[in-house]
């Protein structure tokens, strides 16, 4: 099965709009938490063959912090909030005043800060999606992983839609320019069947 075969251009545009609304709300939440201006890039809906994923992700072996939040309810899926190493350290510094030396030896406090940021951003996104579509959606507890970028993305995709040969990602990049540039990669992975429900609710099925 392929996502590519089941989505038309109008539906793709709608998914982009969902990304916009979800990420817009997530950016506001991050901005409030940090008291800093947060920018979002125009969301991007990508359909990537699983076998091409390592090429699509520019630095597949980069070590990132990723928070995965499951979406339950009428349109289940997974949310993934990734920050690269430097961005993770900066975020922890902004919120605790201390910068961890490296991602693989963060203390409990630091891990929980980054996991909670991911949780708030993903949940805000899901709440916005739920309001926009009038679908009942709820989020699961966050899981924090520190590992290679490509593995985290592939793994999330496999959990969300294991029988598909391609990956559908609704991606947004969050940025803070504060002397330091901070990059976050916020992505939604729908489960099979969820898109039909969303499209139906919005009248583009």
């Amino acid at each position: 099965m392929r996502w590519r075969d089941s989505i038309n251009t109008m539906q793709l545009d709608l998914l982009k709009e969902i990304g916009n609304i979800g990420a817009g709300n997530a950016a506001t939440a991050l901005s409030t938490m940090l008291s800093k201006e947060v920018e979002i890039e125009v969301p991007h809906v990508s359909l990537v063959e699983l076998s091409e994923l390592y090429k699509y992700l520019k630095r597949p072996e980069e070590i990132v912090s990723s928070t995965m939040v499951g979406i339950n309810g009428e349109a289940p899926g997974k949310m993934l909030m990734n920050f690269d190493s430097e961005s993770t350290k900066l975020l922890i510094f902004f919120l605790t005043g201390e910068k961890p030396d490296d991602l693989t030896s963060m203390n409990d406090m630091q891990s929980s800060v980054i996991s909670e940021i991911g949780n708030i951003l993903c949940s805000t996104y899901v709440i916005a999606l739920s309001n926009f579509t009038s679908l009942f959606l709820e989020t699961e507890v966050p899981i924090l992983i520190i590992d290679m970028f490509a593995a985290v993305v592939a793994e999330t995709s496999i959990i969300a839609s294991k029988d598909y040969d391609d990956v559908l990602m609704i991606e947004t990049i969050l940025k803070i320019h504060d002397g330091n540039t901070l990059n976050g990669f916020l992505t939604m992975f729908p489960e099979p069947g969820s898109l039909e429900k969303i499209f139906q609710k919005l009248g583009v099925s």
Partner: protein, 159 residues
Amino acid sequence: MEEKIIIGIGEFKVARNPSILVTLGLGSCVGVCVRDSYSHTGGMIHIMLPESKDSTGNLAKYAHPGIKLMIDEMIKIGADPKNLEAKIAGGASMFEAKGFEIGKRNAEKIKEVLHQLGIKLIAEDVGGNRARSLEYKIENGVLSIKKVGGRESIEIIQI
């Protein structure tokens, strides 16, 4: 100069020496490396799931029938099915809190398939909760496994 051949998720490739077969970011997926040390032919497959429910789509992502398909290709380029040896790595549970068992089931199914095909499993590095990247040298059969180690380093082991 050895050629590096990259294998994506749910793909397999076969090659003759001198080549290095590479796959990146294995989580619950398992990389199966097979080689014939006499004819210096080898193959690697990046397996996502134990078994295909129907026979459509990309079959190379399943242990069954993916491994068999790869072996058939290896035989075409000169491998002798009697000489084959295998090494496997991967099958981690990255999201351990959720108890996703795909990795474990992948590894079990792969061992079963290798046994059925009469291929000897000579080394393995499976399980745990860290992702792996693999490099398999067809010339000597050394499998290098990269994982994220302490201080954001990359830890390399060879089996």
